[in-house]
Symmetry: C2
Subunit: 240 residues, 2 copies
């Protein structure tokens, strides 16, 4: 993707011939080639090409560019997401930022950033928590916007932008809460083993574990008590 | 500042004893020491310490950490801003990101990123433009929110987050428009020579040049024709 980063002479998010699409496809193709060579029996679910049906339980879920708008605006907070999923449940996750050379890895019991163990921050008070979310436009229904407003009103500060990178920062102890909705399975799967591996909690807005079949509403917290407070503040609404 | 980046064990944006304040002060102190040694007759206006009255026309305007929320959440998009101002008009600007090691420089006639000349992108159609802004909370009045909604509705895509870093990306040809309001003189001054030096246009929401006395509403564009279209879309509202 890097040959295209900060070298787009115009915006073209949708057209098949756009440089963004070219970057997306090149990155997914590179990952698929490695998987075909190293894990020929595994299934693949990627954003850009047809699914590959595997012969076993293992499914690789690939999102070559998470944070397309960050990518096209030159903000180094887009990432590549790779998840290994077994029986619809994410068991390994990678969040990779190739320009800053940051790579998060998690397997649900431990998490690392560039090989160093990381853990979430033990902020247990909602009124002291820092909340992050990618964009207000994610919150499409009145109920979703009201839930965001309640959580934003109950926390100490709000930072916008970040996409999957924000979940990496939560795992590294820099952010206390991430609230998002209307995400795709591609966007979700890799986040789960990283956040839980670092000691955090990540569920839908009802408190249920995230799987490939989740609806796309996400609440991540660095601390279990904080997650419970945030869930109560959301008040049980969500897209599911 | 870097000793504090991603090493904050809790959020404390306001308290005098907070690590954020310590980082802010350490950076401003370092800049003041250099200015005292190298430019003893110049005035200094900084966010953290008392103004220094100079003996001549030159005033240095310092913002050690622009993008405090980016800094406290570990997002590498906070910057240090340095402007040289003469008769209230910014004539030199530096936007510096110390963690990614990116430094923008501009003097109103040219601009560089890490020493390489940069220029804005010639996007002249509002409907193809990429808009960026730091946070919806900046837009405090109904009129400001309505102006943002009009511009957002007229452009191709919107990216949130960025603070002064977004103006650097506009100067480098990655972003077409930045719309913000309620900024401080500290936040504004360094942006002007960088954006104009790269071929862009930066004014208040009335189209007037920015000075130390501007009210804090900002519209930056990579192209003069695009700036005119965006101004018309805003419809002449603003904080001033």
């Amino acid at each position: 993707m890097l040959p295209y980063f900060r070298r787009l002479d115009h915006l073209d998010l949708k057209a098949d011939s756009s440089p963004v699409t070219a970057a997306d496809r090149a990155a997914e193709q590179a990952m698929r080639q490695i998987l075909a060579a190293e894990r020929p029996g595994d299934g693949i679910l990627g954003e850009e090409f047809e699914p590959v049906a595997g012969t076993g339980e293992r499914l690789w879920v690939l999102d070559p560019i998470d944070g397309t708008k960050a990518f096209v605006t030159g903000k180094p907070m887009f990432t590549t997401l790779i998840a290994l999923v077994e029986r619809r449940i994410p068991v390994l996750g990678v969040i990779d930022q190739p320009w800053t050379r940051e790579r998060w890895f998690g397997d649900g019991t431990r998490a690392t950033l560039n090989g160093q163990p990381i853990q979430t921050r033990g902020c247990t008070a909602l009124e002291a928590a820092v909340l992050s979310s990618t964009a207000p436009g994610m919150f499409q229904s009145e109920a979703e916007r009201a839930a965001l407003a309640r959580l934003q009103g109950a926390t100490a500060a709000m930072s916008w932008g970040g996409d999957a990178y924000a979940y990496g920062l939560l795992a590294a102890g820099c952010i206390d809460l991430v609230l998002e909705t209307n995400l795709q399975p591609f966007d979700l799967a890799a986040l789960v083993p990283v956040v839980t591996g670092a000691g955090g909690v990540i569920t839908d807005w009802q408190g249920r574990p995230l799987t490939l079949d989740s609806a796309g509403d996400v609440l991540a917290a660095g601390d279990a008590a904080l997650h419970r407070q945030a869930l109560r503040t959301l008040g049980g609404c969500g897209t599911s």
